[in-house]
């Protein structure tokens, strides 16, 4: 189970990739641009690996779970299960909570 710092470090790695991606596309298009993403992606994955994540999807799942934990749930799956429970949340409350979750870092 990754800790908060690992998730935060992972988010920084993804943000760095996105910034580099944006910079890559700020220049004139050439045929090599699609493959110029690859070293950027490798760098991001290397950093995620250092933080204990075996794949990009594994990181995003952990990051999303962390978002859910900040809202008081154990995980996204727990959040979904609880929001479906009408004895706990009305439809409106559930939708508001889900929107709150979605507005967090992704």
């Amino acid at each position: 189970m990754p800790n908060k710092q690992q998730v935060e470090n992972g988010r920084q790695a993804v943000d760095a990739y996105r910034a580099a991606h944006s910079k890559l596309h700020s220049k004139r298009w050439t045929r090599s641009i699609p493959s110029e993403h690859t070293p950027l992606l490798e760098q991001m994955l290397k950093e995620l690996n250092k933080q204990g994540f075996n794949s990009l999807d594994e990181f995003f799942d952990a990051s999303n779970d962390f978002n859910a934990q900040e809202l008081g749930f154990a995980s996204v799956a727990d959040c979904i299960a609880q929001l479906k429970d009408r004895s706990k949340y009305s439809v409106e409350e559930a939708e508001a909570k889900w929107e709150e979750l979605k507005s967090k870092w992704k």
Binding site: Y17, S22, W29, R31, P34, S35, L41, L45, K84
Partner: protein, 236 residues
């Protein structure tokens, strides 16, 4: 813990051998090999027939096409096409997405071919898609699209929950006129994606989104010089 590996992907034209080897390095398997005819299977279940006399030209988006109607992109800066052009898929890092009940469609321009020539046997469009976690829906769908001769042709497919997955659609002829592909068709072609969330009536669609992170086209063609090659010559 193993180190994460990125599969390098060649963007331009590949010989059948280069293509064959790259796909195997990406985890595809060769499930049949008879004469010139190979069948590859991707880790996600895409069955890919390959004529070993063919070369493969891979084209990725390089500009916006005629439509930019998928509602959102992430990150929000830049253009939709640059979220789906990478050679190695970056999944949740950059993508276009929809939370709408109705389809929104993007079309993307592709670079022209350069020195390639010969008979084109088919084109294959690939799109890598995903549904974000949600709590009210059970399914959604998307369409892989190509625009040729001013006609948009779509192939609708269902996305199931799970991880990012690559889907494909093969067109053996130009669907706009049912004629064999020509290089002018390839140069004029646009590729695209239509996304929606397949919400049930009365359910707020904003609870989930359908995403696409990568789209590209492979052009399978027989270079003139290769027509006389034997399989053993090319592969061996």
């Amino acid at each position: 813990m193993g180190r994460i590996k990125v599969k390098m992907e060649i963007v331009r034209h590949e010989t059948c051998l280069e293509y064959f080897r790259r796909r195997l390095s990406e985890g595809w398997k060769c499930i049949s090999l008879e004469g010139y005819h190979a069948v590859l299977l991707s880790p996600e279940g895409i069955r890919r027939e390959l004529d070993l006399r063919n070369d493969v030209l891979t084209l990725r988006p390089n500009a916006a096409g005629d439509e930019t109607n998928v509602p959102y992109q992430y990150p929000t800066s830049g253009s939709h096409w640059d979220k789906v052009d990478e050679a190695s898929a970056d999944n949740g890092a950059t993508y276009v997405m929809s939370i709408a009940n109705d389809y929104g469609r993007d079309l993307y321009a592709l670079p022209n071919h350069t020195t390639e020539s010969g008979d084109i046997s088919s084109i294959i469009a690939y799109a890598r898609c995903y549904i974000s976690g949600g709590y009210l829906g059970t399914r959604t769908s998307f369409k892989i699209c190509i625009k040729t001769d001013s006609v948009v042709t779509e192939d609708e497919q269902t996305i199931n929950y799970g991880n990012w997955k690559t889907y494909s659609k093969t067109w053996a002829v130009n669907p706009a006129d049912n004629q064999a592909w020509g290089w002018a068709d390839i140069d004029a072609m646009q590729v695209g994606i239509a996304l929606r969330w397949g919400a049930e009536v009365g359910i707020n669609a904003s609870h989930m989104d359908t995403e696409c992170t990568q789209i590209y086209v492979e052009v399978n063609y027989t270079p003139v010089a290769a027509k006389t090659h034997s399989f053993g010559y090319i592969i061996g």
